[in-house]
């Protein structure tokens, strides 16, 4: 009798039913560990296999001050990913001079806060961008220039470029153009500074919240994944 009752009432779960599928795809071992399947066996010990956790913010007053300080001293990763990277070079010269805004190009992703995606992103470059982006320490920001990063641009029907870069890494500011003029890129940086001061540029936490979605999108197009699942 009680069995019939339970079966008729869909809200009560019976322990005789099988538990639902965990929904893990094959690159996650459990909640906090990753498989790192792309690496050969002897290298798996060298890389960390923990899943990234969200970074905590501090008290609102201090966070406002820190956001102001972060916006006054953005360090750009000197990695030119596509043709749009040539627009960074006039900005460093005397005419437009981003050093008065506190920005300087840094050669290593460990010390950079801002990565500039310049234009089209081919699959080979996307692997390197993901690698560099995950090695940057947060809070980190992404500025995507040129129309190829927005909707594919000139390479809209190409077999080798991605059409929407924000399915692979979170983007804060887009600057249209082909290429945008240096003044336009400066306006984009100013917009980013306003976003940072308002506390809205939390790309790092967004990436970790939707980590599964980003990682599956990346693994769908990057077929030879011979690096760890998260590049600490």
């Amino acid at each position: 009798m009680s069995d019939i009752e339970i079966k008729d009432n869909p809200d009560i779960k019976s322990e005789l039913q099988t538990p639902p599928e965990p929904g893990y795809s094959e690159w996650r071992k459990d909640e906090n560990t990753l498989y790192n399947d792309g690496l050969p066996e002897e290298e798996k010990d060298w890389f960390c296999d923990a899943r990234p956790q969200k970074a905590r913010k501090s008290v609102q007053v201090i966070e406002n001050f820190l956001n102001w300080a972060r916006s006054q001293s953005l360090w750009i990763l000197a990695f030119g990913t596509g043709c749009g990277a040539i627009e960074l070079r006039p900005l460093v010269t005397s005419r437009y001079d981003i050093s008065r805004l506190g920005m300087q190009p840094r050669p290593t992703p460990r010390q950079a806060n801002l990565i500039m995606i310049g234009g089209y992103v081919s699959i080979k470059t996307l692997k390197r961008i993901v690698r560099s982006y995950e090695q940057m320490q947060g809070p980190k920001f992404v500025v995507a220039v040129c129309s190829c990063a927005i909707n594919g641009g000139m390479y809209w029907d190409s077999y080798n470029t991605v059409k929407r870069i924000d399915e692979y890494i979170p983007v804060d500011v887009y600057v249209t153009g082909c290429m945008p003029r240096p003044e336009a890129v400066l306006a984009g940086f100013n917009k980013l500074k306003e976003l940072i001061k308002a506390g809205k540029a939390e790309g790092q936490n967004l990436y970790i919240e939707r980590f599964d979605w980003y990682k599956e999108n990346q693994k769908k197009v990057i077929k030879d994944w011979n690096m760890p699942d998260y590049n600490w």
Partner: protein, 174 residues
């Protein structure tokens, strides 16, 4: 260039000679005589510079047409040597022993067209398309638009007129 063609006709089965301008000419040679003709041009005729190796896909005639473009530094002339190979089994002799840069061209042709050059170093290593599992993309029967729409997601189109949109943004009181 006509005198060159007449002299070459005595040794090789060259035909289909065409002149584009005074310093650029093309001729065709069968596949088996290509390497000996290139060696002859490099060592004896002074065409020592390999400009490029390209390929055209003739889908209707079921063949690839390879073009080896050579340059002569003393007479400032270019000569294009064309070879037609079968599309069903595209294999060609390598020229990497004559010019080192031939390795790079042969790698590119293998990746983009599927033409194999046995003996060429690293010809099967991926050069630009890492992890590519589809057909060679430069062939005419590969539909790149369909592949792109199937593999990548596209941003939905923005149907606003730019002029009206900017007018609204800049002068909202109108």
């Amino acid at each position: 260039m006509e005198t060159l063609y007449k002299e070459l006709k005595q040794y090789f089965d060259v035909d289909e000679f065409s002149v584009q301008k005074a310093s650029l000419a093309f001729l065709r040679v069968p596949k088996s005589q290509l390497v000996s003709l290139l060696t002859h041009m490099k060592d004896i005729r002074g065409y020592t510079h390999l400009v490029m190796v390209t390929c055209v896909d003739y889908l209707e005639q079921d063949s690839f047409l390879l073009t080896y473009l050579l340059h002569n530094y003393s007479t400032h002339c270019d000569l294009g040597i064309q070879v037609s190979i079968s599309r069903q089994n595209p294999v060609m002799d390598g020229i990497h022993h004559l010019w080192e840069q031939g390795r790079v061209y042969q790698r590119e042709l293998f990746e983009m067209f599927g033409i194999d050059f046995p003996g060429s170093p690293d010809v099967h290593e991926p050069m630009i398309l890492e992890g590519w599992q589809g057909p060679p993309p430069m062939r005419r029967d590969f539909d790149t638009k369909a592949y792109s729409e199937a593999t990548y997601s596209h941003r939905p189109r923005d149907h606003r007129e730019p002029e009206e949109y900017m007018k609204q943004q800049l002068y909202p009181e109108d």
